[in-house]
C-alpha cells in the first residue's frame, strides 16, 4: 500500500497560488455545469487571465450551488473542503470545525 503523504501546503481548490486555484476551480465548475439548474451566470469559463477576486466570486457561487444541490438531494448540509491545519492558525481551524458541527443541530 502506498503511503499517503499529508500535504505541506493547501492544494487544489484550497491553493493560495492564484493560477493553481483558478485551474481547480475551473475544473470544479465544469463538473458542476452538467448538473440540473446550473446557474446561467456561471456558464463562462474561468480563463487564465481571470483576476483573483473573480476566481473567488466564482468559487463562492459554485460552493453555494453545490451546497444547495446537496441539500436538495440528501436533506442535510454537505461536508465541505477545509484548509489544512497550521499551528499558528489552528485556533481558527478548530473554530471552523466547531461551526461545521453546529450545522447538524
Amino acid at each position: 500500500m502506498c503511503v499517503e503523504r499529508f500535504p505541506i501546503k493547501n492544494e487544489g481548490m484550497a491553493s493560495h497560488e492564484s493560477q493553481e486555484k483558478r485551474h481547480y476551480i475551473e475544473t470544479f465548475r465544469v463538473i458542476l455545469s452538467a448538473w440540473p439548474a446550473f446557474p446561467v451566470d456561471l456558464e463562462a469559463s474561468l480563463l487564465p487571465s481571470a483576476v483573483a477576486t473573480h476566481v473567488w466570486v466564482v468559487e463562492k457561487q459554485l460552493a453555494r450551488f453545490y451546497t444547495q444541490s446537496f441539500f436538495n438531494s440528501f436533506g442535510r448540509p454537505p461536508i465541505v473542503p477545509h484548509l489544512i491545519p497550521n499551528p499558528p492558525l489552528l485556533s481558527s481551524v478548530l473554530g471552523v470545525i466547531d461551526f461545521s458541527s453546529a450545522l447538524l443541530t
Partner: protein
C-alpha cells in the same frame, strides 16, 4: 475555506426542496461532530483510537466493495466500542451490529490492538493518543473532511447525472480526480468503476 463555510448559510433549507426519496442521513466517513462533541476526553480519545486503527481497513473496504454510507448513530456506536470489553454481552451486541455494517474483517482490526498506527505519513503511538498535539488532531479531522467531501461529490454527481455515468467511457472520475491532488482518488477509482 471561507467561501465554503458560509455557503450553507445562504442555502434555502426549506424541507420542501428536498426530493421525496432522499436517503436517510449517512456518511462515508465519520462526521467531525463525533470527535468534537464527545462528552468526555476519554470518549474523544476512544473515538480517535478506534478510527485510527480502523481507517485503513475502512478505506480498503470502500475501495474493494460497494459499501454504503453509514448512519451517524452507527458510526458513533462503532467508534465508542471499548476493545477490552468486546467479549461482554452488551458490547458483543454492539459489535455484532457494527460488524453487520462494517464487515467482520473491518471489526477484526479493532481487536488487534497494535502499539502504533500509520496515519498517512505519520506513525502514531496508540498509547499516547491522550497527548496528541493539536496540529496532529487537526490533521486527523482535516483528513475526514477531505474524504467525506470527495465521496459525497461523486455520490451527488452520480445522482444528478445518471445518464453520463451509464456510459462506461465517461470521464467523470477523471474530472473529479483533477479537483484534488489527494491520493484518495485511487480509492474513488476502484470504488466506482
Amino acid at each position: 475555506m471561507f467561501s465554503w463555510n458560509v455557503a450553507f448559510q445562504d442555502a434555502d433549507k426549506n424541507a420542501n426542496r428536498v426530493r421525496a426519496n432522499a436517503p436517510k442521513m449517512a456518511y462515508f466517513f465519520p462526521h467531525l461532530a463525533s470527535f468534537v462533541r464527545g462528552d468526555s476526553a476519554e470518549r474523544k480519545e476512544r473515538y480517535i483510537h478506534n478510527w485510527l486503527v480502523s481507517r485503513s481497513a475502512w478505506i480498503t473496504r470502500l475501495s474493494a466493495s460497494d459499501a454504503s454510507p453509514v448512519p451517524p448513530r452507527s458510526w458513533c456506536d462503532f467508534l465508542n466500542l471499548i476493545p477490552a470489553t468486546f467479549a461482554s454481552s452488551h458490547s458483543g451486541q454492539q459489535l455484532q451490529a457494527s460488524a453487520n455494517i462494517f464487515g467482520p474483517s473491518f471489526i477484526k482490526t479493532t481487536h488487534e490492538e497494535p502499539l502504533e498506527v500509520q496515519f498517512r505519513d505519520l506513525t502514531l503511538n496508540l498509547a499516547s493518543l491522550g497527548t496528541l498535539d493539536r496540529t496532529t488532531k487537526g490533521k486527523i479531522l482535516w483528513d475526514l473532511y477531505e474524504h467525506n467531501f470527495r465521496f459525497e461529490l461523486v455520490a451527488l454527481d452520480r445522482l444528478l447525472c445518471p445518464q453520463i455515468w451509464l456510459d462506461p467511457n465517461n470521464n467523470r472520475l477523471d474530472r473529479i480526480r483533477q479537483v484534488s491532488l489527494s491520493v484518495i482518488n485511487v480509492v474513488l477509482t476502484s470504488l466506482f468503476l
